[in-house]
């Protein structure tokens, strides 16, 4: 069933190098074949049947993603807080930075492998990718604009009329088409070409070094129950024992009001950690070292602490410095340079 969608959507970017060494001329030949489920990935969660990714829809979505008119004062785009070179996060910012230098309360998460996501936001609340952009557009600390105004701004521009027509068959710019186009772009932000993926798919002669392999074994023992392969998240919400932040962010509880959800946040993927720091829902850890220190020594017994971090009365995960080195080596194999350099995903 899903294979049908895969067939529609495959992007091949062929780089043909003419006189490679002396001329530095790069010719790009693109054949847009749409969304492709990587061989080593599970079935997608997104309902592609209701929004098949097309070249025109994707390109419109990309234009919208990099469109400053989505913000009230026409200053910031989705790409401002989701920067491709940082694997679509906002590098160097603990919490996201909106219009008029307003600061949010949470760290900007990556736009990556969203087709497999069932819940969005660090604290949940949104369960359909198509409905997601309404939140950053309307949030006071982010784009602080109304959806109605955004659509009116777009309607006044001829370039969008033709793009909407190409993508959806008519010049009409509606909430549904606008959001579906954005989804098409975001769905195409697939990171699946890290060294890890190539090893798993047995591509070429890709193989782990001894240290990486030892790190992988340790990872499977100590980390994978939450950061499940191959997406490196179980898509769940868990309390990992952080000291509550100064604003006492209650995480998932805010959206569900269930006491058992207090201090639970979405389990982030471990892909592209090289580019996505700082870490945690509020960006409190600037380095991976600090993250390891947290899990090894600083896990707090807060309400709803995940049982996996509190086994046999011992909090945290035991990781010695040798193990840490090996785990770091493995985590490094999850960085996907092709993803952050994929020109298809860049502002044109």
């Amino acid at each position: 069933m899903k294979l049908r969608y895969i067939k529609y959507f495959l992007v091949i970017t062929v780089f043909a190098y003419a006189c490679k060494k002396s001329e530095h001329i790069q010719e790009k030949v693109e054949t847009f074949l749409g969304f492709q489920k990587p061989k080593n990935f599970p079935e997608t969660a997104y309902n592609f049947a209701n929004n098949p990714v097309t070249k025109e829809g994707f390109e419109l979505g990309r234009m919208l993603f990099y469109e400053p008119r989505l913000s009230r004062d026409n200053t910031i785009t989705c790409g401002s807080c989701h920067i491709q070179s940082s694997a679509f996060t906002q590098h160097g910012h603990d919490v996201s930075h909106g219009i008029e230098d307003r600061l949010g309360t949470r760290n900007s998460p990556p736009i990556m492998n969203l087709a497999w996501n069932k819940a969005f936001m660090w604290g949940g609340g949104i369960y359909d990718l198509d409905l997601f952009p309404i939140s950053p557009i309307t949030t006071h600390e982010e784009m602080d604009e109304s959806l109605e105004n955004v659509l009116n701004k777009l309607r006044s521009l001829d370039k969008y009329k033709s793009k909407f027509k190409a993508a959806f068959g008519s010049e009409e710019i509606s909430t549904g088409k606008f959001l579906k186009a954005l989804s098409q772009f975001m769905l195409m932000c697939v990171s699946s070409n890290s060294k890890y993926d190539k090893v798993m798919r047995k591509e070429g002669n890709a193989s782990f070094t001894t240290t990486e392999l030892e790190g992988y074994e340790l990872f499977k023992q100590k980390c994978s129950s939450c950061h499940a392969e191959p997406l490196f998240t179980d898509n769940g919400f868990r309390n990992n024992g952080l000291v509550p932040s100064s604003i006492n962010d209650l995480g998932l509880y805010t959206a569900t009001l269930l006491a058992t959800d207090k201090y639970k946040f979405k389990v982030p993927s471990l892909r592209n950690l090289k580019y996505t720091g700082p870490f945690m829902h509020d960006g409190r850890f600037l380095t991976l070292d600090a993250v390891f220190t947290h899990y090894a020594h600083e896990v707090q017994a807060t309400e709803n602490l995940d049982p996996l971090l509190n086994k046999n009365g011992i909090r945290g995960i035991s990781i010695n410095s040798d193990e840490k080195t090996k785990l770091m080596a493995f985590l490094n194999t999850l960085n996907d340079e092709e993803f952050i350099n994929n020109k298809l995903l860049a502002e044109q």
Binding site: D128, I134, S135, T138, L151, T175, D261
Partner: protein, 277 residues
Amino acid sequence: MKKILTIITITSILFTACKKDNATPDFDEQNLASLSVEFDNIVGGRTLTFDNTAVPYTNATGEKFTISSIQYFISNIQLTTTDGKQFTVPQDSSYFLIKGADRASRFAKVKVPEGDYSKLTFVLGVDSLRSTMPVDKRTGVLDPALGGHDGGGMYWGWNSGYIFFKFEGNSEVITNDQFGDPTGKKQFKYHIGGFGGYSAPTINNIRTITVDLTNAGIAKVRKDRQSNIHLFVDLMKVFNGTTTFSIKTYPTVMFGEFSTVISKNFKDLFTHDHTEN
């Protein structure tokens, strides 16, 4: 052509005159005629006037207040005939946003089979099925872009779902600190929503309202006339329906536990005043 039309019109008027006291037509789901349900907002014994600071309203707790905005969703209209036959208005034609500031919006206009109806049932809010529908099904009053997020918007972006009932106003009893309105505008805001959640069960403020039409007049729905069920919607009852609460204690209620207390008062808002047949 015009002549023929005139003849037809005159003939049908004549027939109408003859038919008016005829017996109830057979219940046929294909034989549809217009019916409107009028949501006439009132406040206690008074009509609804916005921001009437000169003569504010007084609730059961003795607090004086004015109203600046009222909007709510009415959906899933169902009618029952005097002999117990039920008709549910097709979902796609059964969502209405009643806006206090827009008099024209007070009518929910539907098509139902000809018949005599003694019971009206509807949902105050948006059912969970529609609340989780794909974005392209969210058109008309359900378009999340409608009204903007500061103004009349009835959609929560951060916690996907509709605001079912949005009621705002002012009261001098509201303090200027974080327990009241820190902006000093002395505003109360009741944004009641919550359809039960996508995956985990969350608060559910969908309320089904049933109104018996027997005493104040059944709706005689016929093709040749416009039947209108005139309901009073007493906004005062928000404060003293099943549970009485004080504006001072609860000046702002949005997505939180107390919203369920307020939504339980909703059924007390609606009374059937009369039916125009």
